[in-house]
């Protein structure tokens, strides 16, 4: 079977608007978990990128050419990430990719993009390995787990002056990476954790684990993971009468954290590390307002995705739509985005880590700790 035949079959199978092979546009992939258990994040990625692309197109596009987005679903499975990455660079002819979400998908996919000379900007994969691979085309507009862990650990030691820290993670690339980073900084400060254990993603009953936290008499519980587990965890912690301070990372940044915890009173006092608030940037305010006006709350990674798209656009439009040159260009130029000015180092990480500590209040809102 020739390539053309297969392509024809694909197209004939496709629904009406599937003409993804349009020539004149600049094709950019938005890769992430659009189905499967992490689909909520995939939606954030898509909304952010979609809005950014629409805004850029409205302002004249890239060098007069319109951005055309392709939704690429990896369901956070490495296997599918490889397939979809090959599809993006090959069939869709994408010049750049915003994504992926899960680090375990981003890592194998990044190699395919590197070989094809495609620019990859991830809004969410925080695992250090991704940029430590030394690929020239990989960037991220979020922080690294080790930066985030540092902020949390120094806060625990310097501000909370805690001695008994329990470290919990969700055995996933993101959660465990974050917990490990926090733990190693904590140990460097001379504080040894009293407990280090993993829970299983998808479970909701953590009572056994919490009774154990109670038994080691922890005064701080650090959790590396997402809000889907953090909610029940903090609720059951409080139900068992523990007063330990609960700290987590940017995986719990979502209003759903309150609703899965069962009541705002359970999240009261929960601390988390997250990038400096986008609303503190003037350009961010406008975008957030437009999102809200359209009936969508831009939470979690939405604005990161918007930022990633802006970085991609800047790299492409300043280099005659050449992603390889764009990758080099990004390392020496800064980009103005809705989340402020972004500079990248040689690895593709942000030069400035903007993690700060936030606290949830009894109304179920979070604000920066001063």
């Amino acid at each position: 079977m020739s390539n053309a035949v297969i392509r024809k079959t694909l197209i004939s199978l496709a629904v009406a608007g599937a003409a993804t092979l349009a020539q004149a546009d600049v094709v950019i992939g938005v890769a992430g978990p659009h189905t499967g258990p992490y689909a909520a994040f995939g939606e954030q990625l898509w909304k952010g990128a979609e809005k950014a692309a629409a805004d850029i197109n409205a302002a004249g596009g890239l060098k007069g050419e319109m951005i055309k987005l392709v939704k690429a679903d990896d369901a956070c499975e490495p296997k599918q990430a490889v397939s979809v990455a090959n599809r993006l660079v090959d069939s869709d002819g994408a010049l750049a990719v915003v994504g992926h979400f899960c680090s375990s998908s981003s890592i194998p996919a990044s190699r395919i993009y590197e070989e094809a000379g495609v620019l990859m900007v991830t809004p969410a994969s925080t695992n250090p390995t991704l940029t430590d691979q030394g690929l020239p085309n990989v960037f991220r507009v979020c922080g690294r787990d080790d930066q985030q862990g540092d902020v949390a650990a120094s806060y625990i030691v310097d501000v909370l002056k805690a001695k008994r820290v329990a470290v919990i993670h969700d055995k996933d690339t993101y959660g465990k990476g974050l917990a490990d980073a926090m733990k190693s900084t904590l140990n460097a400060y001379g504080v040894k954790e009293v407990m280090y254990e993993g829970l299983t993603r998808g479970e909701k009953d953590f009572n056994a684990l919490i009774t154990k936290i109670r038994s080691v008499d922890a005064d701080v519980v650090y959790f590396g993971g997402l809000h889907s587990e953090a909610g029940p965890l903090v609720r059951q912690l409080r139900e068992q009468g523990s007063k330990a301070i609960f700290i987590s990372g940017d995986g719990i940044v979502s209003d759903e954290f309150v609703s899965v915890a069962g009541s705002p009173k359970y999240v009261d006092g929960v601390l988390m590390t997250f990038g400096a608030p986008p609303s503190s940037y003037p350009s961010g305010k406008k975008v957030i307002k437009e999102f809200r006006d359209s009936g969508y709350e831009p939470e979690g990674y939405t604005l990161y995705s918007y930022t990633a798209m802006q970085v991609v656009a800047a790299a492409l439009s300043n280099n005659n739509l050449d992603p390889v040159k764009g990758s080099e260009w990004l390392k020496s130029h800064s980009v103005n985005t809705v989340m402020g000015k972004k500079d990248f180092d040689d690895k593709g990480d942000l030069t400035v880590s903007d993690y700060v500590m936030y606290e949830w209040d009894a109304q179920g809102k979070y604000h920066q700790v001063n």
Partner: protein
């Protein structure tokens, strides 16, 4: 000491939930010998209906906890029962005379359908229900305390009640007799004038209803769920059903309790990283000693 006792309480409540869901597996297996992989997702559907029922009831201004919980139970059990019936009708009945593996694959397909159908209609985000019942009974033990929340007491009470009613139905009523007859010999039962298709449908409805019972209680207790929540709890409940001897009602409850206790004790006293490894190893060990599970009838080898 207080810690060990608390872990026992944790394990018992977790186990009773596993037991309730395991009933659905065990009944379906008993009657048509199939592993209903979509059962965990039926539980997931019931969690959504619970949240919807609570949202609707509070919308109409009902505040009192007993009315909300009874209303939610009633609505959820009824609608989930309908799901059980329709799933059987669409995906399993056309395969009644085929090999059991075909039904298994159909069930896996059904499980995918349910997950994605809920995801597409309700969105992929995490959902929650508000905390309606708080507070706990605490006993002081040594320097610490052991507590059991009112919600957990309610779970234990309702699951025991559900088990009791079900056992009565199966053992004492005409419907139960028809179920048992169909279980023993479907062909013979139909010759004797039992509408076996109807009986099988009924069993699916009962299984779904028990899953709904668990769905309401667990959703109220943990508060959090998403469209993927049925998978892990489904596998655990299936394990519990096999542990207790698949096909046996008291076995399902016993298997659930053993599984819950072993998880809680292992996680609490040794390591929560390896608690699932421990549960599965325990299962293998029990099955090596008793190949038909704890309360299962040994399979008679026909010559």
């Amino acid at each position: 000491m207080d810690i060990v006792l608390q872990q026992l309480v944790n394990g018992l409540t977790l186990g009773s939930v596993y037991g309730l869901i395991a009933i659905g597996y065990t009944m379906v297996y008993g009657i048509i010998g199939m592993i209903n992989f979509a059962h965990g997702d039926v539980y997931m559907v019931s969690a959504y209906i619970t949240a919807i029922a609570i949202a609707l009831l509070t919308f109409f201004g009902i505040e009192s906890f007993p009315i909300i919980i009874i209303g939610t139970l009633f609505l959820t059990v009824a609608v989930t029962g309908a799901y059980g019936w329709v799933i059987e009708r669409i995906a399993y009945r056309p395969l009644r005379n085929s090999s059991r593996l075909s039904v298994l694959i159909s069930a896996i397909g059904m499980s995918l359908i349910l997950q994605n159908y809920v995801q597409l209609s309700q969105g992929a985000n995490q959902q929650g229900v508000p905390t309606l019942l708080t507070g706990a009974i605490r006993f002081t033990v040594g320097d610490g305390f052991v507590q059991i929340t009112y919600m957990k007491l309610l779970i234990l009470f309702i699951s025991l009640l559900g088990m009791g009613v079900l056992t009565y139905v199966i053992q004492k009523t005409k419907l139960g007799r028809m179920c048992r007859a169909t279980q023993q010999d479907r062909k013979m039962a139909s010759i004797l004038g039992i509408d076996t298709d109807k009986v099988i449908s009924t069993v699916f409805v009962i299984g779904a209803m028990m899953a709904a019972l668990a769905g309401v209680l667990v959703t109220l207790d943990y508060g959090a769920f998403d469209f993927y929540v049925g998978f892990i709890i489904g596998i655990k409940a299936f394990t519990a059903a096999v542990l207790g001897g698949i096909g046996s009602l008291p076995g399902a409850m016993l298997g659930g309790l053993i599984l819950g206790l072993s998880e809680a004790l292992f996680a609490g006293l040794i390591s929560s990283d390896y608690k699932d490894v421990f549960s599965f190893s325990l299962l293998v060990l029990i099955l090596i000693i008793r190949p038909s599970g704890l309360l299962g009838k040994p399979e008679v080898e026909k010559v």
